[in-house]
Symmetry: C2
Subunit: 347 residues, 2 copies
DNA sequence: TTTTTTTACGAAAACGTTACCGAACACTTA
DNA sequence: TAAGTGTTCGGTAACGTTTTCGTAAAAAAA
């Protein structure tokens, strides 16, 4: 019996297990001196409560899950940072699950969470999630789910998103102002709510600026980076190639840079590029990239805060806790008007 | 009673709880037909075992912890990817804890893990970890710990690292070959084992190439990015500034790029830069960055594999499972010999 | 036939914690 | 004095699972 548990403490102090438990939880039923003795011994022996026992007993785990498509992506990494900051403050543990944009994996992960593994879930769905019954089942089982960034519209719960429509509209308008005549939109998925909003912002901006319907040039990319390279290469190698790209996610912009390098296309003279991105090095790229920067850390924080609100007040109407946080366009040389000309200290 | 648990299944099938349990675990004591009935109902009701109950009973949790300094860092993000790949294959859950390079937080996290919260731990220590008693206590409590990248030398357990000494030696030699006369080493911590190895590789390479002792120019940076900016700015603004920087971690290289931009210093003509880095955009930077690329994904995978080996065979000698994986130098223009001259398609 | 073995299941005890129900004791109040 | 009240603690039943032990009934061996 070298385990440090309540029984061990009780035996050493000649007290009952329940007294020890209450002393450690600072119950009013225990005298100050007893509490002091118990706490002193607990500290001395490095007592840590067995989370599994107390979770089983209390039917709550002090743990939340974060389900995201990928982690090698600045947006999600920063969001996790925000989530973790709140969770650590609240004394919660954070489980990370990666779907790798695979719907089946997302379902399988959700099923693992069906039975009280976690108290709540923060989720950004994968690109090919259409059937949402696995998420509905979670909610039915009283496990609150809060979406951040990528949400399922049909599910009535909190969604922490950014102003995707407006900022896409603005970014497209920016491209037009900078002289772009033919703008391609690089899409990853039409299923995603954010995909829809972003694409709509793009096409509405085109219409508002006198473009015609046939100018709506949506290029469907996917989750395979080699495929995407081919797709974008084909696009930019064609005779009537666009003179501007609007990348709906960061990695499509990066791929576009590589393609431009290979095809010896000058950014921004031949092709202007704007992208959703949280790249720390965006200003250091050649040329610096015009980004739509989402406040990833704050999105994570906000999502976590809403989730904890739901955990503290069960039965709260989560749908009405939805939040829209504004993004920001950081201009780089990748959408500059003039012929490319470099000088140090730019940006 | 809308909970789906063994009792519920037992009642619906008129069987005992233990029979249900054994049927689901495919025990030889249960007839094929009973098993079939149980499994069918379990599937129909979306039964998922309560992890807390079984963890409590079995004294193991099918969960591992990953303790790292930060997550908004490509190296750690990729390492987690590797870890998660193995964990998901083995049916394990992954808890992420961030220390934010704060020793106290590392201790507090470790203490949380003292009592069976996880079956094993993968750890990359924070820069200011010197006292390692919290880690030793974990091992004493029979929780295997495997270090990756940043290890504590004094602790006798598996360390998955890269060839830091050799690759630093090579990188420094490369700088010298490219014409660098005065090379500064940007350090984050002398405590860290990897810090020591990297620094030693640097200084040994200097000595081997006829540099003198006083050429050993080690600049101590820290975890505050503003501090680092000032430190590097002071270094590069001085009259006898170095003509090359060896950044021991990625973010110091990025900061150096920003400083060079501000001071209008040309990379590589005025200052050459080489850095440990897993930046996906390194070849796209202006100029492209010469990187020491650590195989982050494989390090994570290898560390997880060693940990699972220990979990499957308790009592294994972890120290002898240590592994050294080789890094690779990817040359960019940031260490080019010639005066800066740009052409498309480079790299 | 009787005895042993095998098959297939049930009862119950754990795992460590929390919470409900008392209960002894001192003290106050009617 | 009797009844109520507050304080401080112990006993015990859960939480859902796994596992040891026991035991009927059926099958095999004697």
């Amino acid at each position: 019996m070298d385990q440090v548990n309540l029984k061990r403490l009780a035996k050493e102090l000649n007290l009952s297990i329940s007294t020890i438990s209450r002393a450690l939880r600072d119950s009013y039923e225990i005298s100050a001196e007893t509490k002091a003795k118990v706490i002193a011994l607990a500290r001395k022996l490095n007592y840590e409560p067995n989370l599994y026992a107390s979770s089983l007993r209390q039917q709550k785990s002090k743990t939340i899950a974060v389900v995201i498509p990928e982690i090698a992506n600045n947006f999600f990494a920063l969001a996790i940072n925000g989530i973790e900051a709140i969770a650590q403050k609240k004394g919660y543990h954070v489980l990370i699950y990666l779907t790798h944009e695979d719907f089946q994996k997302e379902v399988s992960i959700s099923r693992h969470l069906f039975n009280g593994r976690v108290d709540g879930i923060l989720m950004s769905v994968s690109t090919d999630t259409q059937d949402v019954s696995h998420i509905e089942e979670l909610i039915q089982r009283n496990i609150p789910v809060v979406f951040f960034d990528r949400a399922c519209e049909s599910i009535k719960t909190a969604k922490i998103s950014t102003d995707d429509y407006k900022i896409s509209y603005d970014a497209t308008t920016h491209l037009i102002k900078q002289g772009a005549k033919k703008i391609a939109y690089l899409s990853i998925s039409e299923n995603l709510s954010i995909g829809k909003s972003r694409m709509l912002g793009y096409s509405d901006a085109l219409m508002a600026n006198g473009f015609r319907n046939e100018d709506n040039l949506v290029i469907n990319c996917n989750n395979n980076s080699e495929d995407n390279y081919s797709i974008i290469r084909a696009l930019l190698a064609s005779d009537d190639r666009p003179d501007a790209l609007f990348a709906s996610v960061e990695r499509l912009a990066i791929t576009s840079y590589y393609v431009c390098n290979e095809l010896m296309l000058d950014i921004p003279a031949d092709v202007k590029i704007v992208s959703f991105s949280n790249l720390e090095t965006a200003p250091l790229l050649d040329p610096s990239l015009t980004c739509i920067v989402q406040p990833a850390f704050n999105i994570g924080k906000a999502a976590a805060e809403v989730l904890f609100k739901a955990l503290e007040k069960p039965g709260i109407d989560l749908l009405s806790e939805s939040l829209v946080i504004t993004s920001e366009i950081i201009e780089g040389r990748s959408t500059a008007k003039q012929i490319k000309k470099k000088f140090a200290g730019y940006i």
